[in-house]
């Protein structure tokens, strides 16, 4: 069974729906018509570009080019984690901590999936490597941002409680334990929620796409499960690493709380 072909005109007709939204905004004076159209245009350009890039990468099947694309994705994700922080770490750390933990967590899990679980030929084939990394990265990014944000904002909010424990002779790990637990829970929540809701409330985008493209639903479900497990693994290790790294940076070797290493909130 082949899916119905999507022509330029079919897509244009669907795009009319966005134009209708813009018209509605003008009519009701919501003031979001411009934003809406710019966002839609950005999406078209970005997706068209990534389509071109992927086509080129698939034609080449080169380890170097695939790795370069993966690095660009990781760099953007690191920037995204940084921009989601209410209070950033000062200096290089604001970018480096999120990027390095995600690099470690997502690359390890993606490599595990490619070399042990899926074993495409060759293992670095971009048709498998890049979509897998993209989905894992997108979800891990959410967990890592939330976990780090919970830690840094919590450290500011709970300064008196943390310093009271330090003054009584607690180590930095003891003094930050309640906050550590809280930050880890916050980071884990999205993946737990999305595993619990998957299939009931929402059909995951990847599975829907596969089914629309003509795949057997049972096969699509198996792939979706694999992806969710990989995402859970990467998010878990990413959140753990970023929270431990954050504690390391927010305290020093004399077990002091170093809130001066955080920027002021914006």
């Amino acid at each position: 069974m082949t899916p119905p072909d999507l022509s330029f005109w079919t897509l244009s007709l669907a795009a009319l729906l966005v134009l209708a939204n813009a018209g509605l905004s003008l009519l009701l004076q919501l003031g979001i018509a411009r934003q809406l159209l710019i966002a839609a245009a950005r999406m078209c350009v970005q997706l068209a570009l990534i389509g071109l890039v992927l086509t080129q990468l698939f034609a080449r099947v080169s380890l170097g080019w695939t790795a370069l694309a993966a690095l660009v994705m990781l760099a953007v994700a690191g920037y995204e984690v940084r921009s989601r922080q209410e209070r950033r770490l000062r200096g290089w750390w604001s970018y480096g901590l999120g990027s390095s933990t995600m690099l470690l967590a997502t690359v390890l899990v993606t490599l595990l999936a490619l070399t042990v679980l899926l074993q495409p030929d060759p293992w670095y084939h971009p048709r498998y490597a890049l979509p897998l990394l993209g989905m894992i990265l997108g979800n891990a990014m959410t967990g890592v941002s939330l976990g780090l944000n919970a830690l840094t904002t919590g450290a500011v909010r709970e300064r008196l409680a943390i310093e009271a424990q330090l003054a009584l002779g607690a180590t930095r790990w003891q003094a930050l334990l309640p906050l550590t637990r809280q930050a880890l829970r916050t980071g884990f929540m999205p993946i737990i929620n999305s595993m619990a809701a998957t299939g009931l409330v929402a059909l995951p985008g990847m599975m829907t796409g596969q089914i629309l493209a003509g795949a057997d639903p049972a096969e699509a479900v198996k792939y979706q499960l694999l992806i969710m497990f990989l995402i859970a693994g990467a998010t878990g290790s990413g959140v753990l690493l970023v929270v431990l790294g954050g504690i390391w940076r927010l305290t020093d070797e004399r077990h002091r709380l170093r809130l001066d290493r955080l920027q002021r909130s914006e």
């Binding site: 409680a161 009584l168 077990h255």
Partner: protein, 203 residues
């Protein structure tokens, strides 16, 4: 008991602070006075090593630079002006609630207050419980930042009585206080802090 040499902290963050050499003998109470914002709390925090600072501090046989920070702070314990609480109920903040219970009456606290949630405590109750939390750990040096600021006169007397008992045991106390009469009652000497500079009072 406590001797401080060349203590300096430099901002930012926070203002800078310099202190000459001074010491506090076992059983002695030295008061730290001076206008608000001059750096009295910063001096206590620097001695406890809660803020980055330079200089050497010695407490009995312990050299601060040779002692792991948690162990140092168990010997030289800082009580902040504003107390911090990290668990739900009062009892969870005491390693040995049974020992804590025996001291409640001396501090004029309710006999069942260990079972209360933190949110039920008044500021005066918090202040006394935070002090009790410190005293039960039996440090050799106490760094007290306005320990009676939120208390009524009867509670102030009760706290001062406990502090005298600590002095009699040989504990050294550095006391930040805005109450001149309290300074007269407890302290043998004074350190004056003005605009981040510490000096011995009357010299």
């Amino acid at each position: 008991m406590l001797s401080v040499a060349n203590l300096r902290r430099s901002g930012p963050p926070g203002p800078s602070l310099t202190a000459p050499a001074f010491s506090v003998a076992a059983g002695e109470c030295v008061a730290v006075t001076g206008p608000s914002g001059a750096g009295k709390s910063l001096l206590l925090r620097a001695i406890a090593d809660l803020d980055p600072n330079q200089g050497e501090v010695q407490a009995g046989p312990l050299l601060r630079s040779q002692t792991p920070a948690p162990q140092w702070r168990q010997a030289v314990m800082y009580l902040a002006a504003e107390s911090g609480w990290w668990a739900e109920t009062v009892a969870e903040h005491f390693p040995d609630p049974v020992a804590a219970r025996t001291q409640l009456a001396a501090l004029r606290l309710a006999a069942d207050c260990l079972d209360w949630p933190i949110s039920r405590l008044s500021s005066g109750e918090r202040q006394r419980l935070a002090l009790l939390r410190v005293l039960l750990r039996q440090p050799q040096v106490l760094l007290l930042d306005e320990p009676t600021a939120a208390l009524d006169p009867a509670a102030v007397t009760a706290v001062e009585q406990l502090l005298r008992a600590e002095l009699a045991r040989g504990v050294a106390i550095v006391l930040v206080s805005h109450d001149d009469r309290q300074v007269d009652r407890l302290a043998q000497r004074q350190l004056l802090v003005e605009a981040g500079v510490v000096r011995e009072f009357g010299t």
